[in-house]
């Protein structure tokens, strides 16, 4: 007859499950900090891109004005210069939006990966907790042993201790016997 789950196993299992829950909280906070940091970087990057784009557009405007106010001959084609300016500004703004979308896409990948990692860890924690639930369970062997020791009027803890002592003694005897054999050769 077995003696149920040893107390040391139950303690380790319980500590392991608690550690995983605690670590899950740490991961959550850590990932939240990374998301906050990445978001701030995106905001700064977008701001800089907008700033640069405004400067580019200002330079394009200055170039257009210079072309329009150019003294002839031939007289400046104002319509063509303005169309060119409008097209250049549109292209510049579109490029800036593409760059900002690329950054947003890359940071979204980071968030997705973190969510994936968090979900995996939550599954691992749940599995560990389920395993712990089984380990902590009062099993049939425990019931039988507790009842028997109760009938005999013996403390269960004392029986467990006696079993451990017997195991140690048996190991010592085995070792001594091995040494004796080794010495007689």
């Amino acid at each position: 007859m077995g003696c149920g789950t040893p107390a040391a196993v139950k303690k380790l299992s319980s500590a392991q499950a608690a550690t995983m829950v605690s670590y899950e909280q740490s991961l959550k906070l850590y990932f939240a900090a990374i998301v906050g940091f990445a978001d701030a970087q995106v905001t700064t990057a977008n701001h800089l891109i907008d700033l640069n784009t405004r400067q580019i557009n200002a330079e394009l405007r200055a170039a257009t004005l210079e072309e329009i106010n150019k003294a002839g001959p031939p007289p400046p084609d104002r319509g063509a210069a303005l169309s060119k300016y409008t097209a250049a500004i549109q292209a510049q703004n579109a490029l800036a939006e593409t760059q900002k979308a690329k950054i947003a896409g890359l940071v979204a990948k980071l968030n997705d990966k973190q969510n994936e990692m968090m979900s995996a860890f939550q599954e691992m924690t749940k599995a560990q907790q389920k395993l712990d639930e089984y380990i902590q369970l009062r099993k049939t062997n425990d019931v039988i042993l507790d009842e028997l020791t109760g009938i005999l009027g013996v403390n269960r803890a004392k029986v467990d201790q006696a079993t451990q002592d017997i195991t140690h003694i048996a190991t010592d005897i085995q070792l001594a016997a091995t040494n004796l054999k080794g010495g007689s050769k």
Binding site: Q55, Q99, L106, A120, E123, K126, E133, L137, T140
Partner: protein, 103 residues
């Protein structure tokens, strides 16, 4: 030559034109180029995240199935324990009726 090095070279050239008091369309074009390159550098600085989706996360898809199996084992064990407790209680009643004292 890296993009950053190209940017630095262009910026130095632009600064030299500024110092020389040159303000013509060539300088303007160079300034536009520097600004466009700067935007490209800003965008590139996020490129380290490009391959993050290829990072493998531990496959946990089997865990819920296996946990359900453990739950069944828990339920079975609880039922078995309840049965044993019932048997022992019945045996105690029988022994008591037979006059055998049970603590």
């Amino acid at each position: 030559m890296t993009t950053q090095e190209i940017f630095d070279t262009l910026q130095t050239t632009l600064d030299k034109l500024d110092d020389a008091g040159i303000d013509d369309s060539s300088k303007r074009n160079l300034h536009i180029l520097v600004l466009q390159l700067q935007n490209e550098l800003i965008t590139e600085s996020f490129n380290s995240l490009k391959d993050i989706d290829s990072v493998t996360v531990a496959d946990t898809s089997q865990l819920p199935v296996l946990a359900a199996g453990v739950q069944t084992a828990i339920d079975d064990e609880k039922a078995r324990t309840a049965l044993v407790e019932k048997l022992i209680a019945t045996a105690k009643v029988g022994l008591k009726a037979a006059g055998i004292p049970i603590p």
